[in-house]
Amino acid sequence: MSPTPPIVERLPVVGNLVLRAASPDDAAAITRISNLPGYLAGTLRQPFQPVERTRSRLENLPPDNLHVVAELDGTIVGNAVLDRHGGRRRHVASIGMGVDDAYVGRGIGTALLAALIEAADNWLDIVRLELTVYPDNQPALSLYKRFGFEHEGLHRADTYRNGRYVDALSMARLRPDWVKSTSSHP
């Protein structure tokens, strides 16, 4: 029984959407979407990211990380990463994701996030998922809220974006069963 509500079923994607692990062969496709202006603006990517950098990241993924791509009718239209921390933060992972500018608002992000959360909750034993998002990125904010992420802070001048420093919101989601048992936690 999954503690994660099957939200993905509420927003069907038109076409044949496949989620699978990213591989170094996806470097070109991932670089293509991460160089799109909307994807750039919503993430921390820099313009003109070279394919080699993407490939080297994909080739050197720590074994604890997940990198998932969303393929719609054979084309990569989004990706999402779960980056597990180490040491005394092993129960924590950061999430980053982005969708091809031409495919936003079609449930791709929902499908990707649902997959990461399902893996984190049911297989990776991650208690805390955290992320940052620009406060004016309404679609992303509502997506995260739907999955139980809550605001934890507003960080001033966090990132350079389109010619100026902008603030970022930090959000986090504690695994639902952990929240319930928190009062009895040692």
Binding site: G87, V92, V127, R128, H155, A157, R164, H185
Partner: protein, 187 residues
């Protein structure tokens, strides 16, 4: 003297003999000893029984644009602190981490270390935003950071495992004073 620290340390350094200097490869043993003290551990993210080779590896891999210093009292390292500069679109920001020997807390060592980091960040490294996390019950550290202009930006729940339980931290940050003033006119 310059206007590096908006608030000079309230307490005098542990002694006039307190020396701040750049970290050296042969500090590995002293830093490992610090990191294995229970109080130091509780205030940071260190794990018990940290091995010296872990410290050595960390020292060898310090990036050139970071800044790591130690506080030395009569030849003994009693505290350390560092600035880790972020990259890419967060190059104007840096994370701060620091810790003081359990037997030397409350003697101004932290103030001296933090004053040196803030001065370097403001006047030489062109860092706009300094950020850090601190356990919510670490009142002396929170007061220290507030004295240097750090403000609370958030509360992260269950951020790290500490002494048998997940503990919360505050996220704090300090914007360089001249930048904060000019923020409205920033392009």
């Amino acid at each position: 003297m310059n206007d590096a620290s908006p608030c000079p340390p309230h307490k005098p350094p542990a002694a006039a003999e307190l020396i701040l200097r750049a970290v050296r490869p042969d500090d590995a043993e002293a830093i490992t000893r610090l990191a294995n003290l229970p109080g130091y551990r509780a205030g940071t993210l260190r794990q018990p029984f940290q091995r010296i080779d872990v410290t050595r590896k960390w020292l060898d891999a310090l990036p050139a644009d970071g800044l790591h210093i130690v506080a030395e009292l009569r030849g003994e390292v009693i505290g350390n602190a560092g600035i880790d500069r972020h990259q890419g679109r967060r190059r104007h920001t840096a994370g701060i981490g620091m810790g003081v020997h359990d037997d030397h807390v409350g003697q101004g060592v932290g103030s001296a270390l933090l004053a040196a980091l803030v001065d370097a960040a403001d006047h030489w490294l062109d860092i706009v935003r300094l950020e850090l996390t601190v356990f919510t019950d670490n009142t002396p550290a929170i007061r220290l950071y507030e004295r240097f202009g750090f403000e609370r930006e958030g509360l992260h729940r269950a951020f790290a495992f500490r002494n048998g339980a997940y503990a919360d931290v505050f996220a704090m940050a300090r914007l360089r004073p001249d930048w904060a003033k000019s923020a409205d006119s920033h392009p």
